[in-house]
């Protein structure tokens, strides 16, 4: 059954709300309780993750919207949201929190915010035109633009220790939505 048309947040016209399937990934000290994602340890090595991994998409344009709140973070460089390039077997886009949730940065080191307030809710929208571009809006403002290769991708969000990061962290997501066209 086709999903009903929905008002999209970016580039209106032709969007359809979707409900992609997902799997829950808990590795190391990662724990998932519905939309609360926790890393209980400060281990700075190995696979430490608490995430939702959504179904692969290929082609077209996909929009993600979600709200996260860093309820607690003693560590740094914890990935909050990824667009994963399945074709290249690696993260293509990553939004991460640094220094206990005080700063937000993306893959490549671009700082998105210099005034992170722990405990405040932050809204994220990403628009991915496969083969063209990937744009990230934080609290409504465009903060990052990437060119995009073609191929297969999927969305992930939660709390994930990056190569240079460590927990602990508790991240609460809410109002997660997807659209495609």
């Amino acid at each position: 059954m086709a999903a009903p048309a929905a008002r999209a947040e970016v580039e209106p016209g032709g969007w359809n709300a979707t409900s992609p399937s997902f799997t829950v990934q808990e590795r190391g000290c990662g724990q998932v309780d519905n939309l609360t994602f926790t890393l209980t340890c400060s281990t700075a090595s190995g696979d430490q993750r608490a995430e939702r991994r959504y179904a692969t998409y290929t082609g077209g344009t996909r929009q993600f919207e979600g709200y996260f709140r860093i309820a607690a973070m003693g560590g740094t460089r914890i990935s909050l949201k990824q667009t994963f390039n399945e074709s290249a077997s690696g993260p293509y886009f990553m939004l991460a929190a640094e220094r206990g949730g005080r700063l937000y940065a993306v893959h490549g080191g671009t700082t998105l915010s210099t005034a992170g307030t722990v405990g405040a809710t932050v809204r994220v929208n990403t628009v991915h035109q496969v083969g063209t571009s990937h744009r990230t809006y934080v609290n409504g403002s465009l903060k990052h633009t990437y060119s995009s290769p073609g191929g297969s991708f999927y969305d992930k969000f939660g709390a994930y220790r990056t190569d240079s990061g460590s927990g602990p962290a508790t991240v609460v997501w809410s109002n997660v939505k997807f659209w495609s066209k």
Binding site: S42, A44, A72, G74, T117, V122, N125, P168, T170, N175
Partner: protein, 265 residues
């Protein structure tokens, strides 16, 4: 249970209220907060598009007794609204740039009221946390409610003198967090504990004023009844003053609706 402080930990203790206990108090039964109502002289929010995707918001008017305001936005009239910034009382404008194109934006202001604790001054050791520091489990950073002896609690604001329209709403000093204590855990980590004297708070704000800065600004928003929290600091916070504020939100301002245009892509 409190973790045992490190031998080298620096402890700063302030007894903000005469007769208060230095031990974090147990959370009292929660009462319903009195909500300061909007008043005729309250802020009026206006906004304009500086370009198809850039917005400037301005507001006029006063909010007697307010500790500050939050500016919030949504893209649906029914929300959810997201806080863009906690604003000092004297602030009168905000720029919201590079917005999502062809999208309706809804903006509103909400004041917040409440008393702050006495401040504590914290000087951190130079440099960054050591590898050993990083290995610590950092459980002290999690917001939590520590048990303690019973304490007397008070409403965060006093509206008994009349409605806010008369400009008589004021923070109740006795509801201020007491006994604020800052323990330096490492070169970029401070644990704060305090006694909750508020009966009806919407939450607590941990506010910081880095050395050389003239004003405090919120660095953490905490749930009601929290009385322990650990902050990971920024480089500019090696020397800073901190305080904790119990707060309640007031009524929202008028809502401004603006619709963005094309961003040229």
């Amino acid at each position: 249970m409190l973790p045992r402080p490190r031998p080298a930990a620096l402890v700063v203790l302030v007894l903000a209220l005469a007769g208060c206990t230095a031990s974090p108090g147990a959370a009292p039964d929660r009462a319903r907060a009195a909500r300061p109502a909007p008043h005729a002289g309250g802020p009026v929010l206006t906004g304009k598009l500086d370009s198809p995707v850039d917005v400037t918001l301005r507001w006029t008017g006063d909010e007697p007794g307010a500790a500050g305001r939050v500016l919030e936005f949504a893209t649906e009239s029914t929300g959810p609204y997201t806080v863009l910034e906690f604003l000092a009382p004297g602030r009168t404008d905000f720029e919201h740039p590079d917005l999502m194109p062809h999208t309706p934006f809804f903006y509103r202001l909400r004041p917040y009221f409440g008393p702050a604790s006495a401040p504590v001054e914290v000087t951190l050791p130079p440099g960054e946390p050591t590898a050993k520091d990083q290995e610590d489990d950092h459980t002290w950073t999690a917001p939590r409610t520590l048990d303690g002896p019973p304490v007397t609690t008070h409403p965060v604001v006093d509206t008994s003198g009349g409605p806010l329209s008369a400009g008589r709403t004021r923070a109740v000093d006795a509801a201020a967090p007491g006994g604020l204590r800052a323990t330096v855990m490492h070169a970029a980590g401070i644990r704060f504990t305090w006694t909750d004297h508020a009966a009806d708070e919407d939450g607590f704000l941990l506010e910081a004023r880095p050395s050389g800065s003239g004003t405090y600004h919120p660095v953490a928003v905490l749930d009601p009844d929290i009385n322990s929290f650990g902050l990971i600091t920024l480089p500019e916070e090696k020397r800073a003053s901190y305080r904790v504020r119990a707060f309640v939100y007031g009524e929202q301002s008028n809502v401004v609706r603006l619709e963005t245009g094309s961003d040229g892509r």
